[in-house]
Protein backbone atom coordinates (compact mmCIF):
# COMPACT_ATOMS: atom_id res chain seq x y z
CA UNK A 1 0.00 0.00 0.00
CA UNK A 2 1.33 3.41 -0.90
CA UNK A 3 0.71 6.70 0.83
CA UNK A 4 -2.78 7.85 1.62
CA UNK A 5 -4.41 11.19 1.43
CA UNK A 6 -7.89 11.71 2.82
CA UNK A 7 -9.89 14.88 2.85
CA UNK A 8 -11.80 13.66 5.89
CA UNK A 9 -9.57 14.14 8.93
CA UNK A 10 -9.69 14.45 12.69
CA UNK A 11 -9.03 17.47 14.87
CA UNK A 12 -7.52 15.75 17.94
CA UNK A 13 -8.07 18.82 20.12
CA UNK A 14 -11.82 18.74 19.59
CA UNK A 15 -12.29 14.96 19.74
CA UNK A 16 -13.87 13.81 23.01
CA UNK A 17 -13.42 10.12 22.25
CA UNK A 18 -17.17 9.44 22.17
CA UNK A 19 -18.67 6.61 20.15
CA UNK A 20 -20.82 8.49 17.63
CA UNK A 21 -18.49 8.26 14.64
CA UNK A 22 -17.37 4.65 15.14
CA UNK A 23 -20.98 3.56 15.01
CA UNK A 24 -21.78 5.54 11.89
CA UNK A 25 -18.80 4.68 9.65
CA UNK A 26 -19.96 2.41 6.78
CA UNK A 27 -16.59 0.69 6.39
CA UNK A 28 -15.75 0.35 10.10
CA UNK A 29 -12.74 2.59 9.58
CA UNK A 30 -12.79 4.42 12.93
CA UNK A 31 -11.68 3.30 16.38
CA UNK A 32 -11.29 5.27 19.57
CA UNK A 33 -7.80 4.64 20.90
CA UNK A 34 -6.35 6.40 23.96
CA UNK A 35 -9.40 8.60 24.15
CA UNK A 36 -9.25 9.90 20.57
CA UNK A 37 -10.75 8.72 17.32
CA UNK A 38 -8.38 7.28 14.74
CA UNK A 39 -9.34 6.82 11.09
CA UNK A 40 -7.90 3.85 9.22
CA UNK A 41 -6.77 5.34 5.89
CA UNK A 42 -7.04 2.02 4.06
CA UNK A 43 -10.73 1.74 4.89
CA UNK A 44 -11.89 5.37 4.79
CA UNK A 45 -13.93 6.19 1.68
CA UNK A 46 -14.35 9.92 2.46
CA UNK A 47 -18.13 9.68 2.59
CA UNK A 48 -18.32 12.36 5.29
CA UNK A 49 -20.74 10.45 7.55
CA UNK A 50 -18.47 11.06 10.55
CA UNK A 51 -18.41 14.79 9.79
CA UNK A 52 -22.20 14.81 9.85
CA UNK A 53 -22.55 12.88 13.10
CA UNK A 54 -19.72 14.34 15.22
CA UNK A 55 -21.32 16.53 17.91
CA UNK A 56 -17.98 18.19 18.68
CA UNK A 57 -17.07 19.10 15.10
CA UNK A 58 -13.86 17.17 15.47
CA UNK A 59 -14.17 15.58 12.02
CA UNK A 60 -13.50 17.96 9.23
CA UNK A 61 -12.73 18.08 5.55
CA UNK A 62 -9.50 19.42 4.15
CA UNK A 63 -9.90 21.55 1.04
CA UNK A 64 -8.17 24.49 -0.57
CA UNK A 65 -8.77 28.09 0.52
CA UNK A 66 -10.09 30.44 -2.15
CA UNK A 67 -6.72 32.21 -2.07
CA UNK A 68 -5.36 29.20 -3.97
CA UNK A 69 -6.20 31.12 -7.17
CA UNK A 70 -3.24 33.41 -6.51
CA UNK A 71 -0.92 30.49 -7.31
CA UNK A 72 -1.95 30.56 -10.98
CA UNK A 73 -1.59 32.97 -13.88
CA UNK A 74 -5.10 32.21 -15.05
CA UNK A 75 -7.94 30.48 -13.26
CA UNK A 76 -11.15 28.78 -14.25
CA UNK A 77 -13.89 28.19 -11.68
CA UNK A 78 -15.73 24.90 -12.13
CA UNK A 79 -18.96 25.20 -10.11
CA UNK A 80 -20.75 21.97 -9.19
CA UNK A 81 -24.42 21.76 -10.25
CA UNK A 82 -25.25 21.78 -6.52
CA UNK A 83 -23.92 25.34 -6.17
CA UNK A 84 -26.94 26.75 -8.06
CA UNK A 85 -29.22 25.12 -5.50
CA UNK A 86 -27.84 27.07 -2.53
CA UNK A 87 -29.47 30.44 -3.18
CA UNK A 88 -32.95 31.82 -2.59
CA UNK A 89 -34.91 33.04 -5.59
CA UNK A 90 -32.09 32.41 -8.06
CA UNK A 91 -33.84 32.43 -11.41
CA UNK A 92 -30.85 32.74 -13.68
CA UNK A 93 -27.61 30.75 -13.26
CA UNK A 94 -25.76 33.66 -14.90
CA UNK A 95 -26.25 35.74 -11.77
CA UNK A 96 -24.32 33.23 -9.72
CA UNK A 97 -21.73 32.54 -12.40
CA UNK A 98 -21.04 36.25 -12.82
CA UNK A 99 -20.60 36.60 -9.06
CA UNK A 100 -18.17 33.68 -9.19
CA UNK A 101 -16.07 35.57 -11.72
CA UNK A 102 -16.26 38.53 -9.39
CA UNK A 103 -14.39 36.46 -6.81
CA UNK A 104 -11.32 36.72 -9.01
CA UNK A 105 -11.63 33.87 -11.47
CA UNK A 106 -10.77 34.66 -15.08
CA UNK A 107 -13.32 32.25 -16.43
CA UNK A 108 -16.20 30.04 -15.37
CA UNK A 109 -17.04 26.65 -16.82
CA UNK A 110 -19.93 24.73 -15.35
CA UNK A 111 -19.39 21.12 -14.35
CA UNK A 112 -23.02 20.67 -15.43
CA UNK A 113 -21.97 21.36 -19.04
CA UNK A 114 -19.38 18.60 -18.91
CA UNK A 115 -21.97 16.37 -17.21
CA UNK A 116 -24.14 16.60 -20.31
CA UNK A 117 -21.24 15.21 -22.33
CA UNK A 118 -20.80 12.39 -19.80
CA UNK A 119 -24.54 11.67 -20.10
CA UNK A 120 -24.14 11.32 -23.83
CA UNK A 121 -21.06 9.11 -23.51
CA UNK A 122 -22.97 6.95 -21.00
CA UNK A 123 -25.87 6.62 -23.42
CA UNK A 124 -23.47 5.34 -26.11
CA UNK A 125 -21.73 3.03 -23.64
CA UNK A 126 -25.06 1.50 -22.59
CA UNK A 127 -25.90 0.80 -26.22
CA UNK A 128 -22.88 -1.46 -26.64
CA UNK A 129 -23.73 -5.17 -26.75
CA UNK A 130 -20.80 -6.34 -24.60
CA UNK A 131 -21.62 -4.32 -21.50
CA UNK A 132 -22.34 -5.99 -18.12
CA UNK A 133 -25.76 -4.72 -17.01
CA UNK A 134 -26.76 -3.03 -14.91
CA UNK A 135 -24.09 -0.40 -15.37
CA UNK A 136 -23.31 1.32 -12.06
CA UNK A 137 -22.61 5.04 -12.04
CA UNK A 138 -19.04 5.95 -11.11
CA UNK A 139 -19.53 9.68 -10.56
CA UNK A 140 -19.74 9.57 -6.74
CA UNK A 141 -16.18 9.06 -5.50
CA UNK A 142 -17.28 7.74 -2.11
CA UNK A 143 -19.41 5.05 -3.78
CA UNK A 144 -16.50 4.20 -6.06
CA UNK A 145 -14.24 3.66 -3.05
CA UNK A 146 -16.96 1.73 -1.22
CA UNK A 147 -17.35 -0.69 -4.13
CA UNK A 148 -13.59 -1.08 -4.32
CA UNK A 149 -13.29 -2.24 -0.71
CA UNK A 150 -16.63 -4.03 -0.16
CA UNK A 151 -18.15 -5.16 -3.46
CA UNK A 152 -15.43 -6.65 -5.66
CA UNK A 153 -18.02 -8.67 -7.60
CA UNK A 154 -19.46 -5.45 -8.99
CA UNK A 155 -16.27 -3.78 -10.22
CA UNK A 156 -16.90 -4.86 -13.81
CA UNK A 157 -20.31 -3.17 -13.70
CA UNK A 158 -18.87 0.26 -13.02
CA UNK A 159 -19.25 2.88 -15.71
CA UNK A 160 -15.63 3.24 -16.88
CA UNK A 161 -15.93 6.94 -17.66
CA UNK A 162 -14.35 9.92 -15.94
CA UNK A 163 -16.60 11.99 -13.69
CA UNK A 164 -18.07 15.28 -14.97
CA UNK A 165 -15.74 17.40 -12.83
CA UNK A 166 -12.70 15.68 -14.30
CA UNK A 167 -13.94 16.22 -17.83
CA UNK A 168 -14.77 19.84 -16.98
CA UNK A 169 -11.20 20.40 -15.75
CA UNK A 170 -9.74 18.94 -18.94
CA UNK A 171 -11.99 20.98 -21.22
CA UNK A 172 -11.50 24.19 -19.24
CA UNK A 173 -7.74 23.88 -19.20
CA UNK A 174 -7.48 23.04 -22.88
CA UNK A 175 -9.67 25.97 -23.88
CA UNK A 176 -7.89 28.38 -21.55
CA UNK A 177 -4.52 27.26 -22.90
CA UNK A 178 -5.68 27.89 -26.47
CA UNK A 179 -7.12 31.26 -25.55
CA UNK A 180 -4.19 32.56 -23.53
CA UNK A 181 -1.18 30.69 -24.88
CA UNK A 182 -0.25 29.79 -21.30
CA UNK A 183 1.18 26.40 -20.32
CA UNK A 184 -1.29 24.01 -18.62
CA UNK A 185 0.51 24.31 -15.27
CA UNK A 186 0.00 28.09 -15.27
CA UNK A 187 -3.76 27.56 -15.52
CA UNK A 188 -5.69 26.60 -12.41
CA UNK A 189 -8.87 24.54 -12.74
CA UNK A 190 -10.68 25.04 -9.43
CA UNK A 191 -13.71 22.94 -8.48
CA UNK A 192 -16.33 24.63 -6.31
CA UNK A 193 -17.33 21.47 -4.48
CA UNK A 194 -20.13 20.13 -2.29
CA UNK A 195 -18.00 17.11 -1.45
CA UNK A 196 -14.80 16.24 0.46
CA UNK A 197 -14.42 12.97 -1.46
CA UNK A 198 -13.73 15.05 -4.57
CA UNK A 199 -10.70 16.51 -2.80
CA UNK A 200 -9.43 12.99 -2.25
CA UNK A 201 -10.32 12.07 -5.85
CA UNK A 202 -8.18 14.96 -7.09
CA UNK A 203 -5.14 13.99 -5.02
CA UNK A 204 -5.53 10.22 -5.40
CA UNK A 205 -7.64 9.61 -8.51
CA UNK A 206 -9.30 6.27 -9.17
CA UNK A 207 -9.81 5.12 -12.73
CA UNK A 208 -7.39 7.59 -14.21
CA UNK A 209 -3.69 8.06 -13.67
CA UNK A 210 -3.88 11.72 -12.75
CA UNK A 211 -6.45 14.42 -12.30
CA UNK A 212 -6.59 17.59 -14.39
CA UNK A 213 -8.04 19.44 -11.40
CA UNK A 214 -5.72 21.82 -9.59
CA UNK A 215 -7.71 22.76 -6.52
CA UNK A 216 -10.99 22.10 -4.72
CA UNK A 217 -12.73 24.90 -2.82
CA UNK A 218 -15.77 24.25 -0.61
CA UNK A 219 -19.18 25.63 -1.56
CA UNK A 220 -19.64 26.75 2.05
CA UNK A 221 -16.45 28.84 1.81
CA UNK A 222 -17.47 30.82 -1.26
CA UNK A 223 -21.16 31.03 -0.38
CA UNK A 224 -21.12 34.11 1.89
CA UNK A 225 -18.87 36.03 -0.50
CA UNK A 226 -21.07 35.09 -3.47
CA UNK A 227 -24.15 36.41 -1.67
CA UNK A 228 -22.67 39.88 -1.62
CA UNK A 229 -21.30 39.78 -5.15
CA UNK A 230 -24.58 38.55 -6.60
CA UNK A 231 -26.06 41.92 -5.73
CA UNK A 232 -23.31 43.95 -7.39
CA UNK A 233 -21.50 41.98 -10.09
CA UNK A 234 -22.56 42.87 -13.67
CA UNK A 235 -24.43 39.91 -15.14
CA UNK A 236 -22.88 38.29 -18.20
CA UNK A 237 -24.28 35.43 -20.29
CA UNK A 238 -22.00 32.67 -18.98
CA UNK A 239 -24.15 29.60 -18.50
CA UNK A 240 -23.83 26.86 -21.10
CA UNK A 241 -25.80 24.11 -19.45
CA UNK A 242 -29.24 22.62 -19.94
CA UNK A 243 -31.68 20.73 -17.78
CA UNK A 244 -29.78 17.44 -17.88
CA UNK A 245 -26.53 18.98 -16.69
CA UNK A 246 -27.99 20.73 -13.66
CA UNK A 247 -29.98 17.60 -12.85
CA UNK A 248 -26.74 15.86 -11.91
CA UNK A 249 -26.78 17.87 -8.67
CA UNK A 250 -29.51 15.71 -7.18
CA UNK A 251 -30.18 12.03 -6.79
CA UNK A 252 -31.81 10.58 -9.90
CA UNK A 253 -30.60 13.37 -12.17
CA UNK A 254 -27.81 11.42 -13.79
CA UNK A 255 -30.06 8.43 -14.47
CA UNK A 256 -32.98 10.53 -15.74
CA UNK A 257 -30.56 12.34 -18.03
CA UNK A 258 -29.91 9.13 -19.91
CA UNK A 259 -33.36 9.39 -21.50
CA UNK A 260 -32.56 6.27 -23.54
CA UNK A 261 -33.77 3.99 -20.74
CA UNK A 262 -36.43 3.95 -18.05
CA UNK A 263 -34.98 0.80 -16.50
CA UNK A 264 -32.89 2.53 -13.92
CA UNK A 265 -32.71 2.90 -10.19
CA UNK A 266 -31.32 5.79 -8.15
CA UNK A 267 -30.41 5.37 -4.49
CA UNK A 268 -28.96 7.98 -2.16
CA UNK A 269 -27.66 7.98 1.39
CA UNK A 270 -24.83 5.61 2.24
CA UNK A 271 -26.99 3.02 4.05
CA UNK A 272 -29.41 2.81 1.12
CA UNK A 273 -26.51 2.59 -1.31
CA UNK A 274 -25.06 -0.35 0.62
CA UNK A 275 -28.42 -2.14 0.61
CA UNK A 276 -28.72 -1.74 -3.15
CA UNK A 277 -25.16 -2.93 -3.71
CA UNK A 278 -25.79 -6.03 -1.57
CA UNK A 279 -28.88 -6.84 -3.62
CA UNK A 280 -27.10 -6.16 -6.90
CA UNK A 281 -24.34 -8.51 -5.85
CA UNK A 282 -26.92 -11.22 -5.22
CA UNK A 283 -28.68 -10.48 -8.52
CA UNK A 284 -31.90 -9.73 -6.67
CA UNK A 285 -32.81 -6.61 -8.58
CA UNK A 286 -33.96 -8.04 -11.89
CA UNK A 287 -33.38 -6.45 -15.24
CA UNK A 288 -31.95 -2.97 -14.87
CA UNK A 289 -29.84 -1.01 -17.33
CA UNK A 290 -28.43 1.58 -14.99
CA UNK A 291 -27.94 2.16 -11.30
CA UNK A 292 -27.17 5.62 -9.96
CA UNK A 293 -25.75 5.74 -6.46
CA UNK A 294 -24.97 8.77 -4.33
CA UNK A 295 -23.39 8.48 -0.88
CA UNK A 296 -25.14 11.63 0.34
CA UNK A 297 -28.87 11.87 1.01
CA UNK A 298 -30.49 13.77 -1.83
CA UNK A 299 -27.40 13.41 -4.01
CA UNK A 300 -24.62 16.01 -4.35
CA UNK A 301 -26.87 18.73 -2.88
CA UNK A 302 -26.55 16.73 0.36
CA UNK A 303 -22.75 17.00 0.42
CA UNK A 304 -21.16 18.06 3.71
CA UNK A 305 -19.57 21.14 2.12
CA UNK A 306 -22.93 22.62 1.13
CA UNK A 307 -25.00 25.19 3.00
CA UNK A 308 -28.65 24.58 2.15
CA UNK A 309 -30.84 21.77 3.47
CA UNK A 310 -30.63 19.13 0.70
CA UNK A 311 -34.40 18.76 0.34
CA UNK A 312 -34.88 22.47 -0.08
CA UNK A 313 -31.92 22.53 -2.44
CA UNK A 314 -33.65 19.94 -4.63
CA UNK A 315 -36.71 22.17 -4.92
CA UNK A 316 -34.53 25.11 -5.89
CA UNK A 317 -32.73 23.03 -8.49
CA UNK A 318 -36.04 21.91 -9.93
CA UNK A 319 -37.32 25.47 -10.22
CA UNK A 320 -34.09 26.63 -11.82
CA UNK A 321 -34.11 23.84 -14.39
CA UNK A 322 -37.72 24.38 -15.38
CA UNK A 323 -37.25 26.59 -18.42
CA UNK A 324 -33.84 25.39 -19.58
CA UNK A 325 -33.37 23.48 -22.83
CA UNK A 326 -32.99 19.73 -22.29
CA UNK A 327 -29.29 19.65 -23.14
CA UNK A 328 -26.91 22.23 -24.56
CA UNK A 329 -23.73 20.18 -24.90
CA UNK A 330 -23.12 17.44 -27.40
CA UNK A 331 -20.31 14.98 -27.81
CA UNK A 332 -18.70 14.60 -31.24
CA UNK A 333 -18.81 11.17 -32.93
CA UNK A 334 -16.42 8.63 -31.39
CA UNK A 335 -15.33 11.15 -28.75
CA UNK A 336 -16.59 8.92 -25.91
CA UNK A 337 -13.32 7.01 -26.03
CA UNK A 338 -11.59 10.10 -24.67
CA UNK A 339 -13.76 9.91 -21.57
CA UNK A 340 -12.74 6.33 -20.78
CA UNK A 341 -10.72 5.51 -17.67
CA UNK A 342 -7.07 5.01 -18.42
CA UNK A 343 -6.31 3.00 -15.30
CA UNK A 344 -7.82 -0.22 -13.98
CA UNK A 345 -10.03 -0.47 -10.92
CA UNK A 346 -8.79 -3.15 -8.56
CA UNK A 347 -10.29 -4.79 -5.52
CA UNK A 348 -8.77 -3.56 -2.25
CA UNK A 349 -9.38 -6.46 0.14
CA UNK A 350 -8.91 -4.35 3.29
CA UNK A 351 -11.74 -6.14 5.11
CA UNK A 352 -10.05 -9.55 4.97
CA UNK A 353 -8.87 -11.06 8.24
CA UNK A 354 -5.55 -12.41 7.05
CA UNK A 355 -3.12 -12.24 4.17
CA UNK A 356 -3.96 -15.74 2.95
CA UNK A 357 -6.62 -18.41 3.44
CA UNK A 358 -4.90 -20.30 6.24
CA UNK A 359 -4.22 -17.14 8.24
CA UNK A 360 -7.77 -15.90 7.64
CA UNK A 361 -9.26 -19.24 8.73
CA UNK A 362 -7.11 -19.42 11.87
CA UNK A 363 -7.97 -15.83 12.78
CA UNK A 364 -11.65 -16.44 12.10
CA UNK A 365 -11.80 -19.37 14.51
CA UNK A 366 -9.92 -17.38 17.14
CA UNK A 367 -12.29 -14.47 16.57
CA UNK A 368 -15.34 -16.68 17.18
CA UNK A 369 -13.84 -17.86 20.48
CA UNK A 370 -13.25 -14.25 21.59
CA UNK A 371 -16.67 -13.17 20.43
CA UNK A 372 -18.32 -15.87 22.53
CA UNK A 373 -16.71 -14.37 25.66
CA UNK A 374 -17.73 -10.77 24.86
CA UNK A 375 -21.05 -9.45 26.18
CA UNK A 376 -22.64 -8.77 22.77
CA UNK A 377 -23.90 -5.32 23.77
CA UNK A 378 -22.10 -3.49 20.94
CA UNK A 379 -21.77 -0.58 23.37
CA UNK A 380 -18.67 0.90 21.77
CA UNK A 381 -17.03 1.42 25.16
CA UNK A 382 -13.89 -0.36 23.98
CA UNK A 383 -13.49 2.03 21.05
CA UNK A 384 -14.66 -0.46 18.40
CA UNK A 385 -18.14 -0.15 16.89
CA UNK A 386 -19.28 -3.67 17.92
CA UNK A 387 -18.17 -6.72 19.85
CA UNK A 388 -17.47 -8.39 16.52
CA UNK A 389 -15.21 -5.50 15.49
CA UNK A 390 -13.33 -5.74 18.81
CA UNK A 391 -12.84 -9.48 18.33
CA UNK A 392 -11.53 -8.78 14.85
CA UNK A 393 -9.16 -6.11 16.16
CA UNK A 394 -7.88 -8.53 18.80
CA UNK A 395 -7.01 -11.23 16.25
CA UNK A 396 -5.36 -8.61 14.09
CA UNK A 397 -3.25 -7.67 17.11
CA UNK A 398 -4.64 -4.13 17.25
CA UNK A 399 -6.59 -4.38 20.51
CA UNK A 400 -6.91 -6.53 23.63
CA UNK A 401 -9.92 -8.37 25.06
CA UNK A 402 -9.30 -6.28 28.22
CA UNK A 403 -10.43 -3.20 26.28
CA UNK A 404 -13.98 -4.46 26.90
CA UNK A 405 -15.30 -2.36 29.78
CA UNK A 406 -18.07 -4.82 30.55
CA UNK A 407 -15.67 -7.75 30.91
CA UNK A 408 -13.37 -5.65 33.05
CA UNK A 409 -16.24 -4.67 35.32
CA UNK A 410 -17.24 -8.32 35.71
CA UNK A 411 -13.69 -9.26 36.55
CA UNK A 412 -13.39 -6.42 39.01
CA UNK A 413 -16.61 -7.46 40.71
CA UNK A 414 -15.31 -11.01 40.93
CA UNK A 415 -12.12 -9.75 42.55
CA UNK A 416 -14.09 -7.62 45.00
CA UNK A 417 -16.29 -10.59 45.86
CA UNK A 418 -13.21 -12.72 46.43
CA UNK A 419 -11.91 -10.05 48.78
CA UNK A 420 -15.36 -9.98 50.40
CA UNK A 421 -15.84 -6.31 49.54
CA UNK A 422 -19.36 -5.13 48.61
CA UNK A 423 -19.11 -3.76 45.02
CA UNK A 424 -22.00 -1.38 45.77
CA UNK A 425 -20.19 0.13 48.78
CA UNK A 426 -16.45 -0.46 48.55
CA UNK A 427 -15.89 0.90 52.07
CA UNK A 428 -17.80 -1.88 53.73
CA UNK A 429 -16.58 -5.44 53.87
CA UNK A 430 -19.08 -8.24 54.12
Amino acid sequence: MGEFFHSVTLDRELCMGCTNCIKRCPTGAIRVRDGKAAINPERCIDCGECIRICPHHAKKAIYDPLEVIERFEYTVALPAPALCAQFNNLEDPDLMLSALRGLGFDEVYEVASAAELVSEATRRYLARPDVAKPVISSACPAVLRLIRVRFPGLLDHLLPLIAPVELAARIAKRRAAQRTGLAPEQIGAVFISPCPAKVTAMRMPLGNERSALDAVVAIKEVYPRLLGLMKTAPVEPLSTTGRIGLGWGESGGEAAGLISTERYLAADGIENVIRVLEDLEDEKLGELDFVELNACSGGCVGGVLTVENPYIARVKLKLLRRYLPVSRNHLPEQAEERLRWDAGMEYQPVLELGSDASESFARYSEMQRILAALPGLDCGGCGAPSCKALAEDVVRGEAAVEDCVVLIRERMEAVLRALRIDPGDPHRTR
Partner: protein
Protein backbone atom coordinates in the same frame (compact mmCIF):
# COMPACT_ATOMS: atom_id res chain seq x y z
CA UNK B 1 -4.30 -27.29 7.32
CA UNK B 2 -6.94 -24.80 8.41
CA UNK B 3 -9.76 -26.19 10.53
CA UNK B 4 -13.09 -26.18 8.65
CA UNK B 5 -15.61 -23.55 9.67
CA UNK B 6 -19.21 -24.53 10.31
CA UNK B 7 -22.14 -22.16 10.19
CA UNK B 8 -25.72 -22.96 11.15
CA UNK B 9 -28.78 -21.02 10.15
CA UNK B 10 -32.48 -21.50 10.79
CA UNK B 11 -34.83 -20.10 8.15
CA UNK B 12 -38.22 -19.32 9.71
CA UNK B 13 -41.27 -20.44 7.78
CA UNK B 14 -43.52 -17.67 8.98
CA UNK B 15 -41.51 -14.57 8.13
CA UNK B 16 -40.86 -14.22 4.46
CA UNK B 17 -38.98 -10.92 4.92
CA UNK B 18 -36.20 -12.68 6.82
CA UNK B 19 -35.28 -14.93 3.90
CA UNK B 20 -31.92 -13.59 2.73
CA UNK B 21 -30.41 -13.14 6.17
CA UNK B 22 -28.37 -16.34 5.92
CA UNK B 23 -26.95 -15.53 2.48
CA UNK B 24 -26.12 -11.96 3.57
CA UNK B 25 -24.37 -13.27 6.67
CA UNK B 26 -22.50 -15.92 4.69
CA UNK B 27 -21.40 -13.33 2.16
CA UNK B 28 -19.88 -11.02 4.74
CA UNK B 29 -18.06 -13.92 6.41
CA UNK B 30 -16.71 -15.20 3.09
CA UNK B 31 -15.41 -11.71 2.33
CA UNK B 32 -13.56 -11.44 5.62
CA UNK B 33 -12.16 -14.94 5.04
CA UNK B 34 -10.72 -13.80 1.72
CA UNK B 35 -12.64 -16.12 -0.62
CA UNK B 36 -12.40 -15.14 -4.33
CA UNK B 37 -15.14 -12.60 -5.23
CA UNK B 38 -16.58 -14.83 -7.98
CA UNK B 39 -17.00 -17.79 -5.62
CA UNK B 40 -18.59 -15.56 -2.96
CA UNK B 41 -21.07 -14.24 -5.44
CA UNK B 42 -22.07 -17.69 -6.72
CA UNK B 43 -22.47 -19.10 -3.21
CA UNK B 44 -24.52 -16.11 -2.05
CA UNK B 45 -26.88 -16.28 -5.02
CA UNK B 46 -27.38 -20.05 -4.69
CA UNK B 47 -27.98 -19.85 -0.94
CA UNK B 48 -30.40 -16.94 -1.33
CA UNK B 49 -32.47 -18.97 -3.80
CA UNK B 50 -32.43 -21.83 -1.30
CA UNK B 51 -33.59 -19.58 1.54
CA UNK B 52 -36.45 -18.28 -0.56
CA UNK B 53 -37.51 -21.86 -1.33
CA UNK B 54 -37.39 -22.82 2.34
CA UNK B 55 -39.51 -19.80 3.23
CA UNK B 56 -42.05 -20.13 0.41
CA UNK B 57 -42.48 -23.87 -0.03
CA UNK B 58 -41.14 -25.72 2.99
CA UNK B 59 -42.44 -23.74 5.96
CA UNK B 60 -38.85 -23.04 6.99
CA UNK B 61 -35.80 -25.20 7.39
CA UNK B 62 -32.15 -25.46 8.39
CA UNK B 63 -29.00 -24.48 6.55
CA UNK B 64 -25.60 -25.85 7.42
CA UNK B 65 -22.51 -24.40 5.79
CA UNK B 66 -19.05 -25.96 5.94
CA UNK B 67 -16.09 -23.94 4.74
CA UNK B 68 -12.57 -24.87 3.81
CA UNK B 69 -10.33 -22.65 1.70
CA UNK B 70 -11.18 -24.87 -1.29
CA UNK B 71 -14.90 -25.48 -0.82
CA UNK B 72 -18.09 -23.75 0.23
CA UNK B 73 -20.51 -26.55 1.12
CA UNK B 74 -24.13 -25.78 1.79
CA UNK B 75 -26.76 -28.22 3.07
CA UNK B 76 -30.45 -27.25 3.13
CA UNK B 77 -32.85 -29.48 4.99
CA UNK B 78 -36.55 -29.10 5.57
CA UNK B 79 -39.51 -31.13 6.73
CA UNK B 80 -41.90 -29.55 4.24
CA UNK B 81 -44.29 -31.13 1.73
CA UNK B 82 -41.54 -32.48 -0.51
CA UNK B 83 -41.28 -32.32 -4.31
CA UNK B 84 -43.32 -34.94 -6.26
CA UNK B 85 -41.46 -34.54 -9.57
CA UNK B 86 -37.89 -33.31 -9.14
CA UNK B 87 -37.13 -33.28 -12.87
CA UNK B 88 -40.10 -31.00 -13.46
CA UNK B 89 -39.15 -28.75 -10.53
CA UNK B 90 -35.63 -28.46 -11.93
CA UNK B 91 -36.86 -27.15 -15.28
CA UNK B 92 -36.61 -23.40 -15.76
CA UNK B 93 -39.86 -21.53 -15.41
CA UNK B 94 -41.74 -24.25 -13.53
CA UNK B 95 -43.25 -22.89 -10.34
CA UNK B 96 -45.83 -23.87 -7.77
CA UNK B 97 -45.49 -20.59 -5.87
CA UNK B 98 -48.82 -19.07 -4.82
CA UNK B 99 -49.98 -15.82 -6.40
CA UNK B 100 -49.21 -13.65 -3.40
CA UNK B 101 -45.59 -14.76 -3.60
CA UNK B 102 -45.46 -14.10 -7.33
CA UNK B 103 -46.84 -10.63 -6.76
CA UNK B 104 -43.69 -9.90 -4.72
CA UNK B 105 -41.54 -10.73 -7.73
CA UNK B 106 -40.69 -14.27 -6.68
CA UNK B 107 -41.90 -17.60 -8.00
CA UNK B 108 -40.47 -17.26 -11.51
CA UNK B 109 -39.50 -20.90 -11.50
CA UNK B 110 -35.78 -20.16 -11.47
CA UNK B 111 -34.95 -21.13 -7.88
CA UNK B 112 -33.72 -24.70 -8.24
CA UNK B 113 -32.28 -24.20 -11.76
CA UNK B 114 -30.30 -21.20 -10.49
CA UNK B 115 -28.99 -23.13 -7.49
CA UNK B 116 -27.67 -25.78 -9.86
CA UNK B 117 -26.35 -23.21 -12.31
CA UNK B 118 -24.37 -21.21 -9.76
CA UNK B 119 -22.80 -24.15 -7.93
CA UNK B 120 -20.21 -26.75 -8.95
CA UNK B 121 -21.88 -29.65 -7.15
CA UNK B 122 -25.60 -30.01 -6.67
CA UNK B 123 -27.80 -32.82 -5.50
CA UNK B 124 -31.38 -32.96 -4.35
CA UNK B 125 -33.40 -35.65 -2.63
CA UNK B 126 -37.03 -35.28 -1.71
CA UNK B 127 -39.81 -37.42 -0.28
CA UNK B 128 -43.40 -36.26 -0.50
CA UNK B 129 -44.76 -35.63 2.97
CA UNK B 130 -41.32 -35.83 4.59
CA UNK B 131 -39.15 -33.07 3.21
CA UNK B 132 -36.35 -32.05 0.90
CA UNK B 133 -32.57 -32.24 1.26
CA UNK B 134 -30.24 -30.24 -0.95
CA UNK B 135 -26.46 -30.47 -0.99
CA UNK B 136 -24.49 -27.97 -3.01
CA UNK B 137 -20.88 -26.83 -3.17
CA UNK B 138 -18.97 -24.00 -4.76
CA UNK B 139 -15.30 -24.74 -5.44
CA UNK B 140 -13.04 -21.76 -5.05
CA UNK B 141 -10.67 -22.83 -7.81
CA UNK B 142 -13.56 -23.49 -10.22
Amino acid sequence: MAEPIRLDYVVPGDDFTRAGEASADLKSRLKSLGFPPAAIRRAAIALYEGEINLAIHAGGGRITVALTPERIEMALDDEGPGIPDIALAMSEGYSTAPDEVRSLGFGAGMGLPNMKKYTDEFSIASTVGEGTHIRMAVLTAG
